[in-house]
Symmetry: C3
Subunit: 311 residues, 3 copies
């Protein structure tokens, strides 16, 4: 759906657009002011204020009001409890910074955006740990999906399961067009089931039928197919992912923040409320499932299999 | 979605279709009777009974049982309180006329279908006026979206905001294929937010993701892109818009009215009920928003800007 | 949507996929075990245990764990009460057979998948009969839509109304690509209205707008158009329908049953619950409608018309 959509603003005030603006609609000064503050060309920041934690690198371009978050948890950006915790702390810092209007979410590791949840967090630990971990996974989704900032996912590598979750919770998804990379929710393939709120997010994005099909079969889509079903909004050559994200961000930031935020909330609130009102039950459901002897046994065998392969 | 859909009736009674009709399905005589009454070729009406008000022109082709409503509020068909009031009165007249089975909705002004709500109704007036205006906007949507008649929008020009609302509330949308024209809900671009029931109508038409994207960014789509995402059903050269609307209407009118109306109600009632059960709250929400000092100040400045451009 | 979706498993453990499996995700042994049991090539079954009733032919391939159900009610596979009853009995037998993991649903009659409900069941009988018949129609849908087995529709001929219902309730739809065949819910064309749960199933499959359009107009789609709107998932030459169904089934059966079943339930339960909680009201609604003098008169006249054509 990367369409040649044309805004009244971009078309200028000549032609039919002018008539529209003149008599039927209006333009708030607040938004004009914002537009005037935007740089006329998007380049690399003059000033940049990086702040980072162990697994989360953050660059803030204060001129543009745009932050870039890079995931850095080698080898495959597994979503460990540590990473999730650092992510949420960094996110809140940005959300509370009124000068920051947009975030580009990307990976610092070549070929992989994120491989999804860290299996070692779900294996051989106690129920309290599983609960803490799952609550952090929920929190990741809540922070992303309800953000007041414009969130653009610059998907510069494979993005299964939890990687796809982060992409889906963004406002716009740009993926590197390399058929070696795939994106999707492959939970069933691994014997597990996506949580209902992740299913809802997928349905909101690609519709009911495509979701049912993809979720039942655990399908992972190469970029071209992901684009075709609307799982990503745009595919570009790998070396254009970051620059495209920045230029799309500048498009999004022409929209007055307040009206955009209210619109986003109107669209997403029903889905978010479903989790908020049964968050604890969702945690208990996960803990119960993951604690089963059969599941734990399988996880242990799989970890052992992985270790032997490495060794 | 202008597909080569083939109905049993059109395919005649030979071939496999015949078998279907013979043993597994049935055809009510009522509908056959209606079909026989339909003229074999669609041409311009032999007899026509025009009735008009100041801003709404109505032609009724009694042979076909089809009315054409033309909006006429120069320069850009702004939806003023007067136009809305006249529209609803004309509409009710048609709805109560049992011989009228379909309405074609179009513009009497070149290049513009409708520019949307009239800004002067929302600026410098009192709360009672804003409330009356918004109730009229709701009523426009309710009349269109719940009509027992087949409603076809012949979109012969640009159609932002309120113009798009009228199109979306129709049963079928045909747009002039001129890239200078655009259609969409550009509210955020202007600092405001589409009401929830208009958002629901958009979601019902183009799905959740395309709606979220278009609404957040206030996108206006040229005809080809509008067609691609399903915002309009058909695009034709500008000089074919009216004739295509008439010939599509004849297709729709081959369907027995009662079954079609029950089906339409089944599809749209949940969305309509959402507004009906919070109509007053929706009015108060609009009045509260539009009465804000900051909004009024912006509107005044914008109107002044428009006057200076004209002068 | 027959995409080139690539699963981690199929891509092997080399390349970036390996990294994903190694650290971020896991693979239950149960599912691996199932994979190892799957034959490396799909051919015709070595052993086959057919069981049939009068109108339902069942073949079970015990090696593959796949059954094939063929409808056989000449001339057009009308869904009579007898056929529906036999179908449900056969279905329950398969559902209770733990070795049976998938069902291919097809027709034993050339050129027709099913013409839909048998009109003679709805004409000149008493209310108790209509109620029994409608309950059987509901049961057909419930059995198909909630099945624990993978259900693939091999649509080898026309599939209007009730035929389309069976297809929609499957997990995957493959249709013979012959433009003489059509599929769709043409109820309004015949003066009747699809029940709400069938409408819901259509919306779940092709979305709200395409459903509204198709249902209001009673559209029947040739295979290419049905594929374009997502009413079927794949179109293949007529002589490839059965083999494609079998090879797609083998794809679906690589997914661990339990995770796939839970996912399917998560997707479909809300729709199913709507019928379950008002099943009796839905029956009474049908009985009331079909018992009307005007409807019965039309049905009698139509049956007479059919007899005269035959005679």
């Amino acid at each position: 759906m990367a369409l040649r959509a044309v805004s009244v603003l971009k078309r200028g005030l000549g032609g039919p657009g002018a008539g529209l603006l003149r008599s039927g609609t209006f333009l708030l000064c607040a938004s004009q002011h914002r537009l005037e503050k935007m740089p006329s060309s998007i380049g690399f920041p003059a000033t940049s204020r990086p702040f980072s934690s162990h697994q989360i690198l953050v660059d803030v371009n204060q001129n543009l009001g745009v932050a870039t978050i890079k995931l850095k948890n080698p080898p495959v950006n597994s979503l460990s409890l540590e990473l999730l915790t650092e992510f949420v702390i960094s996110w809140e810092k940005l959300e509370n910074d009124k000068s920051c209007r947009g975030v580009i979410l990307t990976s610092n590791i070549p070929k992989i955006f994120s491989a999804g949840l860290d299996i070692t967090e779900m294996c051989g630990k106690n129920a309290a740990h599983y609960a803490e971990f799952w609550k952090a996974v929920q929190e990741l989704w809540l922070k992303l999906y309800t953000s007041n900032m414009v969130v653009i996912a610059a998907i510069n590598g494979s993005s299964p399961a939890g990687g796809c979750l982060m992409s889906l919770a963004s406002d716009y998804r740009i993926m590197a067009d390399d058929p070696k990379y795939t994106i999707g929710l492959n939970e069933t393939l691994l014997g597990i089931v996506a949580p209902f709120w992740l299913k809802d997010t997928l349905v909101n994005t690609i519709g009911n039928r495509a979701s049912e099909h993809a979720l039942q079969r655990g399908l992972l889509f190469p970029p071209a197919d992901a684009f075709k079903i609307g799982l990503v909004d745009q595919i570009v050559p790998e070396d254009k992912v970051q620059s495209t994200a920045l230029s799309m961000m500048s498009e999004w930031l022409t929209i007055p923040d307040h009206a955009r935020q209210l619109t986003k909330t109107m669209m997403r609130k029903p889905t978010v409320d479903q989790l908020l009102k049964q968050r604890e039950a969702d945690i208990q459901n996960f803990v119960g499932f993951i604690s089963k002897d059969s599941i734990q046994k399988s996880l242990h065998m799989y970890l052992k299999f992985l270790k032997e392969r490495k060794g």
